[in-house]
Symmetry: C2
Subunit: 215 residues, 2 copies
């Protein structure tokens, strides 16, 4: 870590120290992810993030306009909504639902993703100044992308309905950890929720399912 003179003079010509090499930007984003997860959006501070990353605060300000910008980056990097949606939409249309649920669930189970994604959900539901910023991110990055990929004239409503099922699923499975949904195998959840996402996105009904008798 490069905590040479935190709070004091930053020697720099042009870019601040650390910006050209050493992965300063990546370290800041990783430190911010940990900070937002532990303290929540409101309590997190750029100064503390800089300290965690072992860089000067000036470097944080060099890369990011403000806390909101940094937070958006923290959640964008691991979630990569553009990639997920593009990858799902590349496949056959009748599998949008299954593929989306499978992609999002397996993504959330990665240790690098879950803290940031959980912080995102918590912040979105909160009352602080972070909430409206996160909502803009959700609308613009997630819902907007999804809606643009749909041919339907009511694409915006369909995207938000699909998002409602995904958000609730993530909330119960990963944040509230409500059993048996939190411990059910991914494939079982995909089988139950995939057709719902399909229905919301395309209006196609699932093939129906019989009551499980093996429980």
């Amino acid at each position: 870590m490069q905590n040479q003179d935190d709070g004091g003079a930053v020697r720099r010509r042009g870019r601040p120290r650390g910006s050209s090499s050493g992965g300063g930007r990546e370290r800041i984003v990783a430190a911010a992810s940990a900070e937002f997860h532990e303290r929540g959006y409101e309590a997190a501070s750029l100064r503390s993030i800089a300290r965690r990353a072992g860089v000067d605060s000036a470097l944080v300000h060099h890369y990011f306009d403000d806390k909101a910008g940094l937070f958006t980056e923290v959640v964008r990097v691991p979630l990569r909504p553009d990639r997920i949606i593009a990858s799902v939409m590349e496949g056959p249309a009748e599998l949008y639902g299954e593929r989306l649920v499978h992609s999002v669930l397996t993504l959330w189970e990665r240790p690098a993703v879950r803290p940031a994604a959980t912080a995102l959900l918590r912040t979105a539901v909160g009352t602080g100044t972070g909430a409206s910023m996160v909502r803009s991110f959700l609308k613009g990055e997630l819902l907007g992308q999804l809606a643009r990929a749909l041919p339907a004239p009511d694409a915006d409503l369909r995207a938000s309905l699909a998002a409602s099922q995904m958000a609730g699923l993530l909330m119960l499975r990963f944040v509230l950890e409500i059993d048996p949904l939190s411990s059910a195998p991914v494939d079982e959840v995909v089988a139950a929720v995939g057709p719902v996402i399909q229905w919301h996105l395309t209006g196609t009904a699932p093939p129906g399912r019989t009551t499980a008798t093996d429980a």
Copy 2:
């Protein structure tokens, strides 16, 4: 529990002043609803709730063991999960989904309900000590009731899947206020989400729907 001299002399013989008449208990619950909504569970205090209600703190302690007990009452009274679920389950089984979505949406739109229900969702997703208490309430009062009303052997999983769609719907429509879902007419939302709840609860597929062309 009976904090007799909280900041001042409380004249009482037997029950604290206000408990036998004047709707002291109801005033406390109403004041608590406002307090939890404005300040959130963690920041809310029993002392401040007593002040809002115009009663002595001792009366709050007379009726409620602690903040958690009062919060549970605040959300139980307007939500009445027992009544909603019983009323939905009295109707025909093929309308469970529609009836449940319609009941919950119209309930949330009542001014007496929305603040408490929103506070419930926010607290459940939070990290504070209130979160686990709210989760117990959700599991015991809502999911437990719903699961017991289902004949399926995997009733617990089905109830939690239905709850995931309802929770996400409420979150996007009422908490995040994401358009067009937040402004869509109740009937339109019931038509889109009712079949999903039906599918989760009973495994019955919706009749399919065509892409809207009137948008």
